[in-house]
């Protein structure tokens, strides 16, 4: 009898859909500039991996465009007063795509497996949550016990994708399910894997039974075509096959697609910042006045408007994604050659020819243009400039010691998890020194203490205050000159809506958030 009812309901639903929507499936076709290397949630690392993962799997929480954590599998969570444990309550209706309920044991299994395999997002949890410290309280309640207070912990939770433990254990084989999960999905995400040809494409289809339900205009099918060839992208757009580009096309391609009429060019600020990093331990940039002079010798407006599109940035923390932590009252560097000359006069190098090296990534045209502009302005101030273009792998090498790090370096840096900590710790904390992200060689105990203090408090208000203080302190020291916050661009079909930049890798490609409006 029950079977009969369900069948009847299904038949009715099909009949209703058939009238209007069944014929018109909402299909999104997007190109990616690189292949999907893995769909195993314990191994994901780059933008395409995460892109597949956010659609095929769900986490306990996810991130919105303001960087806030919002419920996904978990309907609520409680952080202990000392911020050393977090208890999540899983939605009662949450279920995997095979219909079985999502339970606390699945969370425990997914976490333990992540640490065992020790790849992908595992490093975010290393030393913070030890194996065995994620505990299932009951079927729908799970507690993470932290080894120490670590305020950014919650921001790392979205990268933990939840596996259907029963299915994985049944197919674990002798390699912890690595073979199985390399080609199969055992998750609760809004989309199901339809086909995947590693070198060329991946197709996912909407799970009609997804536990969070569907909205009007939902995307039924997403096709990712792997190509970084501009001509191919343009041809696919012209033939009507493409609905959305990757964010990495050339300006010419955006222009050509914009001219077709079917596309709009969607441009949004991101949390990825572009800096001039000044080596604060090498002459002449060891002098604060020289650093300020350089900051005044940069024509920010021309860079943003002519050389590389971006949003103005007044401090080292981009406003997009971190609005609550951003210090809007910092004046920020301004282009003013007179003030630059005054600063040079105040420095201990005043009155002499000041040798300086400008480093940038060899072969990157816009960086060379910026470097030439800087050379022109600095030579007018009495500097003797040496351009030092290096390939990227060489830059990662020379960033390893103070002596080989050039005076001025053009570096992009974006958050790997949606917390200001990701921006400050990696770039400015002494413990993280010696990488391309910290070519300033700041190593300032005062700054370290502030970063540690922000990590050790669970109080968001207090954190925000600390991060604002940090931005003022870093502005005083002027070791990183914020050039611009990168904008992300897509050519999108006029009927497609829903891209909203998120300060965490690829979470803005969760197609559950998109809708077809035509």
């Amino acid at each position: 009898m029950r079977l009969l009812t369900t069948t009847a309901a299904a038949a009715l639903a099909v009949a209703c859909l058939g009238a209007g929507a069944a014929a018109a499936q909402n299909v999104v076709t997007q190109n990616t500039v690189q292949i999907f290397s893995t769909i195993d949630p314990a191994k994901i690392s780059d933008y395409t991996d995460y892109m597949a993962s956010v659609n095929l799997y769900d986490g306990l929480v996810t991130v919105d465009s303001d960087g806030n954590l919002v419920p996904e599998l978990a309907e609520s969570w409680v952080v202990s007063d000392d911020a050393t444990s977090v208890t999540f309550t899983i939605r009662p209706d949450a279920h995997f795509s095979d219909g079985s309920p999502v339970e606390a044991k699945d969370v425990v299994y997914s976490f333990e497996r992540l640490l065992r395999i020790n790849q992908g997002p595992a490093n975010l949890f290393a030393g913070i949550v030890e194996p065995g410290n994620v505990v299932a309280e009951d079927d729908k309640t799970v507690t993470f016990n932290l080894s120490r207070t670590f305020a950014p912990f919650m921001a790392t939770v979205p990268s933990l994708r939840i596996l259907n433990s029963d299915v994985v254990i049944a197919n674990a084989g002798d390699d912890d399910g690595e073979t199985f999960l390399a080609t199969n999905v055992a998750g609760s995400g809004p989309y199901l894997l339809d086909s995947w040809d590693r070198g060329s494409r991946m197709i996912v289809k909407r799970d009609p039974n997804y536990y969070r339900g569907w909205h009007e205009g939902a995307i039924d099918e997403v096709r990712w075509i792997v190509t970084n060839d501009e001509a191919t992208v343009r041809a696919m757009a012209a033939s009507g096959e493409l609905t959305m580009t990757s964010p990495y096309q050339s300006p010419d391609t955006y222009e050509a697609l914009g001219a077709m009429g079917r596309f709009r060019i969607d441009s949004q600020p991101t949390s990825t910042a572009f800096y001039l990093k000044l080596n604060s331990r090498l002459p002449p940039t060891d002098d604060i006045h020289i650093r300020r002079a350089i900051a005044h010798a940069v024509d920010y407006e021309t860079i943003r408007e002519v050389i590389f599109p971006g949003e103005p940035m007044n401090t080292v923390l981009p406003e997009a994604g971190f609005a609550a932590f951003h210090a809007g009252d910092v004046e920020g560097p301004v282009f003013d050659m007179e003030r630059a000359a005054e600063e040079v006069a105040l420095s201990s190098y005043a009155g002499e020819a000041i040798p300086i090296t400008l480093g940038y990534v060899a072969g990157t045209l816009f960086e060379e243009e910026i470097s030439l502009m800087l050379q022109a302005h600095l030579e007018a101030l009495g500097f003797v400039v040496t351009q030092q273009p290096d390939p990227w792998n060489r830059i990662t090498e020379i960033a390893g010691s103070v002596e080989t790090t050039p005076n001025v370096n053009q570096i992009f840096f974006g958050p790997t998890y949606p917390s200001p900590d990701s921006m400050f710790f990696t770039q400015y904390h002494s413990d993280a020194a010696g990488t391309w992200a910290s070519m300033e060689w700041l190593q300032d105990p005062e700054i370290d203490a502030l970063i540690d203090a922000a990590r050790a408090t669970g109080d968001v208000e207090e954190q925000a205050e600390i991060y604002k203080t940090l931005q003022h302190e870093l502005d005083e020291r002027m070791v990183s000159i914020p050039l611009l916050a990168q904008t992300v661009q897509h050519a999108m079909d006029n009927c497609l809506e829903g891209f909203d930049a998120v300060p965490m890798m690829s979470f803005d490609y969760d197609f559950y958030r998109y809708r077809w409006t035509c």
């Binding site: 002519v306 050389i307 045209l365 243009e369 030439l372 400039v385």
Partner: protein, 291 residues
């Protein structure tokens, strides 16, 4: 009053000039080379924007097509391409002069020694030459640029390190023929020193071959230098260099064609000029051995 010898030399030169001027390709080649050299020497005085050689940026004037103000248009930071092409000729010619200035003396001396003495001297020199000949110059230059840092001096060094081999081979084969000639044997019989025989008897008879080879080589050295710069291993910005300009302009093809096409044409014309001149000289001196 001219002596007979002077008279003879004069008529010889006049004859050569007459034959040369009747060879249209040689004359065209010579004219191109002379014009390029003059342009390069006079660059600071004849170019419209000599300051555009250094770090000058003018972003309002970027990507301007060729016009009266900018004959070859402007590049991606608004610099005058005509000015930079003329200065680029300078770098190319300096490269050719330095490389050949280092390679030719080495190659000629080794060739003379190997050809005249024979025996183990010949074996050692010619086998080393064969080994060096087996390494493609571009690959060698890439390796040197990778080990040392990419710069004009290093790329010149790399090319010079391999270029002597061709001259060694050439002079070796000529010397082998000459050493059994009567005038060499006569000098030996008279007890002339080896140095006298090598440099006073044999070398003057190689000069025409060297001249032909040198002018042909100049074109090749310029092309290799441009190739290295194109790959980002030669001259570093902002110094104007033809190969670098072609490489940078290539990212703006086809819309801003002048940025790579015009510097590319300059390389073409310069290399062509040296080759035509070399061919003309070869016909003139009737040197068989060169290529």
């Amino acid at each position: 009053m001219r002596t007979d010898a002077e008279q003879h030399a004069l008529s010889n030169a006049w004859q050569n000039w007459f034959r040369f001027s009747r060879n249209p390709t040689a004359v065209i080649g010579a004219v191109i080379v002379v014009v390029c050299v003059l342009l390069a020497i006079l660059a600071p005085y004849i170019t419209p924007y000599p300051d555009h050689v250094g770090a000058v940026v003018d972003f309002r004037n970027r990507h301007q097509p060729p016009s009266a103000a900018h004959w070859f248009g402007t590049d991606n930071v608004g610099r005058d391409i005509f000015t930079r092409v003329i200065f680029g000729l300078r770098i190319s010619l300096i490269l050719a002069v330095v490389v050949l200035g280092v390679a030719i003396p080495i190659g000629v001396i080794l060739g003379l020694l190997a050809g005249y003495f024979g025996g183990w001297v010949e074996t050692v020199i010619m086998r080393i030459t064969d080994i060096a000949l087996a390494i493609p110059p571009l690959v060698m230059a890439l390796a040197v640029a990778a080990v040392l840092s990419p710069s004009l001096v290093n790329s010149m060094l790399a090319i010079a390190l391999l270029w002597w081999t061709w001259h060694t081979r050439l002079i070796y084969s000529i010397t082998r023929q000459l050493r059994t000639q009567e005038f060499v044997e006569a000098a030996e019989t008279l007890g002339a020193s080896r140095r006298h025989i090598l440099f006073r008897e044999i070398l003057p008879n190689c000069v025409s071959a060297i001249a032909v080879k040198t002018s042909l080589d100049a074109g090749f050295v310029i092309l290799i230098g441009a190739a290295l710069s194109f790959l980002g291993l030669g001259i570093q910005p902002p110094t104007p260099d033809l190969g670098t300009m072609v490489a940078q302009g290539a990212s703006f093809l086809p819309d801003y064609w002048w940025q790579s096409l015009l510097p590319g044409s300059a390389i073409l014309i310069l290399a062509l000029g040296f080759n035509l001149l070399g061919d003309g000289l070869r016909d003139l001196f009737d040197v068989e051995d060169v290529r």
